[in-house]
């Protein structure tokens, strides 16, 4: 199973876990990203490239499935305005053995950060600024090549 969703609505974590378990035998690894209130951020807005984003995420999911023999992958990414504490992204992987699930999960979130067309804008008390790409994120994605 490959499941890719890009949506403005909040998502149901337990429903996503259930889907992975239904396809999983062995181990399930997940990563959930939450909006941080860095230095007083009160709104985080996510913009994306409709259609292209979904294709990029599906490509990453397919690469991970082949590389780690996954039985299931879910990637859910929210777009639009969000508040601190809300979930931005969920990546879940299922595999027969734990190392495959854990590595694939780390791979997907690292690659997603540099290879999927999303852009973040932080607001602090009405002052908005576009988030710059972090060198650390580029390095994290590069270690998988």
């Amino acid at each position: 199973m490959i499941r890719v969703l890009v949506q403005t609505e909040p998502f149901d974590l337990s429903a996503e876990m259930m889907r992975l378990e239904a396809e999983g035998t062995g181990g399930i690894a997940t990563f959930t990203g939450l909006v941080r209130a860095d230095d007083g951020v009160d709104v985080l807005e996510l913009e994306h490239y409709p259609g292209v984003t979904e294709r990029a995420l599906t490509d990453l999911a397919q690469e991970a499935t082949a590389r780690w023999s996954l039985t299931a992958v879910s990637i859910v990414h929210r777009v639009g305005p969000m508040r601190p504490g809300e979930r931005i992204v969920f990546v879940g992987t299922a595999a027969a053995h734990r190392a495959a699930a854990l590595e694939a999960c780390a791979y997907l979130i690292d690659r997603l950060k540099t290879d999927a067309p999303f852009w973040k804008r932080e607001s602090r008390g009405g002052q908005a600024r576009w988030v710059e790409q972090r060198t650390g994120d580029v390095d994290a994605a590069a270690r998988w090549r």
Partner: protein, 83 residues
């Protein structure tokens, strides 16, 4: 040819999408940026620092020196920051 813009590139250009008809001398994405910037205004401002720009041609991420070769949609945007 359809142009699409995202994030601060969109804000500086002043629109998220537009139709353009570049001349035959515009071969690469970089040529296209030069030609659009020559119109002045938002485009010149948005495309000033090339190292801060990324592009996709028909949905595929490409370097700025890539040929357009009959592309239907060209996207210009800053480095991505999702996740």
């Amino acid at each position: 040819m359809k142009m699409v813009y995202f994030a601060w590139v969109r804000e500086r250009v002043g629109t998220g999408a537009e139709e353009v008809a570049p001349p035959a001398s515009v071969v690469t994405v970089a040529d296209l940026l030069d030609w659009l910037a020559a119109h002045g205004g938002g485009h010149a401002d948005a495309f000033g620092e090339r190292e801060r720009l990324r592009a996709a041609v028909d949905g595929a991420f490409v370097p700025l020196d890539s040929p357009l070769s009959g592309a239907a949609e060209v996207a210009i945007f800053p480095p991505v920051t999702g996740g």
